[in-house]
Amino acid sequence: MANLPYNSAEGSSDVVPESPSPERSTPTTEQQMSPTCFQTSMVMSSQETSLSPVIPIIQCDRSAWKMRQNESGLGPANLQYGLGDGKEEFNEHAALQQAFNYIRKATKKESTLEKHLQTVEDIAWKSGLGPKDIDTLLEVVLSSPLRAEAVKSRMLKCLIPTTLIPESAVVKAFSKLCTHNYSNSIKIIFFRWLIAMFDFIDHTEEMNSLYGFFFSFLQEESMSCYVCHLLYLLTKRENVKPFRVRRLLDFQSKVGIQPHLQALLSLYKSFCPDLVSISLPQKRKYYFKNTDSIWQTAVYIVKQRNQLPSLPSVELSVGISASQPQKRKWNSSCIIPKPTSSFTGEKKQKGGSTSLDVMFGVRKTFPVEQLHMFSQLLENIQNIQFPSQMCSVLKNSSLLHYLNCVRDETVWLRLYYWMNQVLKEGCTWCKVSNYTTEEEFKSFLDIVGKAQCFLQEGFPSSEVFLYRSLPLWDGTSCRSEYLQLLSWLPLGNFSEIRPLLCDSLAPLFFTSSIFHKCSVLYSLKQLLQNWLLRYAMRANVKTMMSTSSHTTLNVVNSVSELISFVGWLSTNALRLEEHSSFLFHFVLDFFETVSDMYLNYNLPLVVIFPCGVFYPALLTFDSITLNHLCYIMYRYRVNLTAAKENDVIRQERQKFNKTYQKFNEYVTALVDCLWTSTAFEKDHFLYIDPEIMKKTKIKDYKKSLNLTNHPALLVYSIYFLLQGWPGEKELALGTIQEHLEDLVTYRESLSHLDFAQDILHDSDKHL
């Protein structure tokens, strides 16, 4: 009979009924898929699960169910087991329908019925039932001709929703319950189920219109406490009527003071104080008996199992605050609260606003708690108010969108103050406090970084934090997250930033590992890109108004200073790391962005990379580096050719002449080394006294740097010969010259080497 585990010890682990306010408390579980806010938090406790005497043991995998299906030999669906989730779901559905159909017609208990019952139980407890299935099952149970109550109660217990329970199903079932002659125990299970699943019912308007019917069940003493609880959840202000109060009071005088009656009365009193004249005890602690947590646990498990991969926007808005234990220091840093609407704004609007008005009052503003999707933002953009704690926007993509189009500076200031404090307190290497662990701080920095990336703009507080904490940084803790802040520094005067940033960054850079160097260079590349983008965006706007040459000049200065700083860093880093090709990759990546500044970002500036980068890259052993270098040289050439037409550059011809000269010098060297084998001749860059060269005893040294013999390309030449003339015992590299065309096409992976050839043809055009 009373099969569900029930905590009869009143008061020991009671559940507190919550207020029936229209704005329910925000859900505490993260993965709630239904759009409504749930009142009850679902917390799974292992204790509760172990209490159950009846509930079938749920296996985590589906094999148990499959096995049982196989034994019973049900349906053709068996053949397709194990073909994937989609199929299985389909099978589940088919099996369910089959079982429903059978149970509907069954008139007495027998073994086939038992099997079908088990199927339903298995599926329900494992993956839950959809809204339609719930409807069907309710109908099946309450209208089946079966007399056995045990079967009915078993079926009722299977009503575990995956998403929502349709209100119509509840109303239908309730009407059946009213009209047919059911035993009290069935009614009790139904009410208990309603209480436990109340938050999953999609609407309650129609149910509310049946309020009187629900109320009439109060007469039954055995179920009055469940009915009270249900009414407590269902009651609205308009349901409180004098005759109901009278009935309640009459009932109370009959059965004595019961906590559930008192709870309902106190709710009535809070809605209509004038109707309930009796005094209720001061210390209001009315509890309902424990709700059937086993059902809630089941729902929770079902939800966990059916969890879909979350969308990226959802991922942003998942709060850490929820996943962390509540018992923490109240102001410990790095915890980002969930957005909650603020009351400060509208408090003053109503003169003598009573407390309940504040709580239940209908407001025009769209509560941020309900803002989950971009479409909601678009629909309600006029009525959105920022949350009471601005920091909660950090993890909510919709609010970040909103932040992006707000003109109010105070919004940024609120964020600034908060973030300033949290960064300072959380920073593990500054040791202001010891409350945060490195992991926490890391994830916080990551959130800040993501938000910055989302807004395409750095927060001022993270900039200030960067300057202050950089001198104390060890270079390893939270490296990638921390350096992410670097790439979002605002476009400013580099000479101002330089003492704050570079003076502490450079020593750390030179003394740290190659990985640190690469990450720093990567962040600096991002910084340059962000600056250039910002400039390009502004330049776009300005053309509509008036071009401010002053700003352009400022940007040009800043950017060229940044580039020369990075040039200096990379020259030294390459020497320190012995021209590691890993490092080269990051260095050349940076200069690839540099080479394309003029055409990509419209910045009237071309800065050539320093000799310390060019020559090592030219004489490298690594073909990829050489290839990358050639590509950069090609982009330089395209940009420089285009820049000749530019007015600003033409005006400052003097300054840019040097750039052109340097480029030509590099081109000559490139051609010398890769094509004409003249690098060692007089007046060329590798010229060494022939007498000294003779002493090295290198045969034919003049030809050691060309397309076939260059150290980075030699491997390809040999490979080419081996594949072209596999039989030959002795191969002379000299013979390649005759097959040069073939060789070039053979090395198609190094596509940019062709540039050397191009240049050879028109190198004289440049000056």
């Binding site: 507190v16 207020s19 200031l413 300033n420 300057y467 476009l491 003492p499």
Partner: protein, 346 residues
């Protein structure tokens, strides 16, 4: 269709330059940022300070209320500017805070705001606790518990007290728009759990943030010097400095008490300009004390850490606890603490 021609970034362009436009930035916030950018590291403090003095506004003091603030141990917190705080709403805040506390204590059960609880929350302003007219008024929050026996002669007991103040907070006030109220210093006395509740409410309601304010050994030595420099008619306590020796398993504390008049005499010999105190003087004062100690006990205090300073004016602990003893120099003590608090927030 027109909308197709609109470039991708249009919404952003219409937004006025806020933070992105560094070069054209002219709002107070930008100026503030600029000044922060120029300030290089964590540890810059002024090299000279004024000797604490009586405030001209001190006449507004209600002696009873001030006496209430004295001789209590306060835990120090810093508070970032409060958004949309209004002095006209104090009554409403007290009822909101009351219901918040009640709700928290009842663990989520809905409470009615007008309900009578066995405690009340009072917000009240502390007139006179400010350095200049520009400083926002300080205010006090108290939780008073009422015994339930009889409602009329109920004994009222203050369970928790906290107050917010800003004394000579000009450097912070300059850059903050009107929507914010700057009371960077918060002092609390009472159970930590209550502080947590009230702090949480303030954080949620006014979008501010509380942080414990600890006092470094460096600032403690400043306090020692400044408070020794105060002129008092009679001394109520010895000047006592506490040094901590880090050693396991328990740290060892060295207490160093001096007769306040001797300390004053030492200070007078070190001190030169009548109105201000310089860093050199502070260093010299502490060095003298240390070398005196070394001469007698052969213990080099310079290798240990100053953790506590107590004088007749006030006593402060490095944990961020303070007890103010002398009403005359209340403003002076608060001014220095405000300075430290502002330094921590900026």
């Amino acid at each position: 269709m027109d909308s197709l021609d609109v470039p991708e970034f249009t919404p952003k362009h219409r937004v006025p330059p806020r933070l992105r436009d560094y070069f054209t930035g002219a709002s107070p916030f930008h100026r503030h940022l600029e000044s922060v950018r120029k300030q290089t590291s964590f540890g810059q403090t002024p090299f000279r300070r004024k000797i604490p003095e009586c405030s001209p506004l001190q006449e507004n003091f209600d002696p009873q209320r001030i006496a209430f603030l004295l001789h209590k141990q306060w835990t120090l917190y810093t508070l970032t500017p409060m958004y949309k705080f209004s002095y006209t709403n104090l009554k409403e805040y007290s009822s909101l805070l009351k219901s918040f506390i009640a709700a928290e204590k009842q663990k989520g059960l809905a409470v009615e705001m007008e309900e009578d609880f066995n405690f009340k929350v009072i917000f009240s302003t502390l007139s006179g606790v400010k350095g200049t007219q520009r400083d926002p008024a300080a205010f006090l929050v108290q939780i008073i518990s009422k015994s339930q026996l009889s409602s009329k002669n109920a004994e009222e007991k203050v369970v928790w007290t906290g107050w917010f103040c800003c004394v000579y907070g000009d450097s912070l006030l300059e850059n903050v728009p009107d929507d914010f109220t700057c009371l960077p210093l918060f002092l609390a006395n009472g159970a930590e759990s209550n502080t947590a509740l009230i702090g949480t409410w303030f954080q949620q309601t006014f979008d501010c943030r509380f942080t414990r304010l600890t006092i470094s050994a460096f600032n403690l030595s400043w306090m020692a010097a400044m408070w020794t420099a105060c002129n008092l008619e009679h001394y109520v306590a010895a000047t006592e400095l506490l040094w901590s020796v880090p050693c396991s398993p328990q740290s060892l504390d060295i207490s160093y008490a001096i007769h306040p008049e001797d300390a004053k005499a030492l200070w007078d010999s070190v001190h030169q300009a009548p109105e201000e105190i310089t860093q050199e003087e502070v260093d010299l004062f502490i060095d003298c004390l240390c070398s005196h100690f070394h001469r007698h006990f052969k213990i080099n205090l310079a290798a240990t850490r100053l953790v506590c300073v107590s004088t007749s004016v006030a006593s402060a602990h490095t944990d961020g606890k303070i007890k103010i003893l002398c009403s005359k120099y209340l403003i002076g003590v608060l001014a220095f603490l405000t300075e430290l608090a502002i330094f921590q927030i900026e």
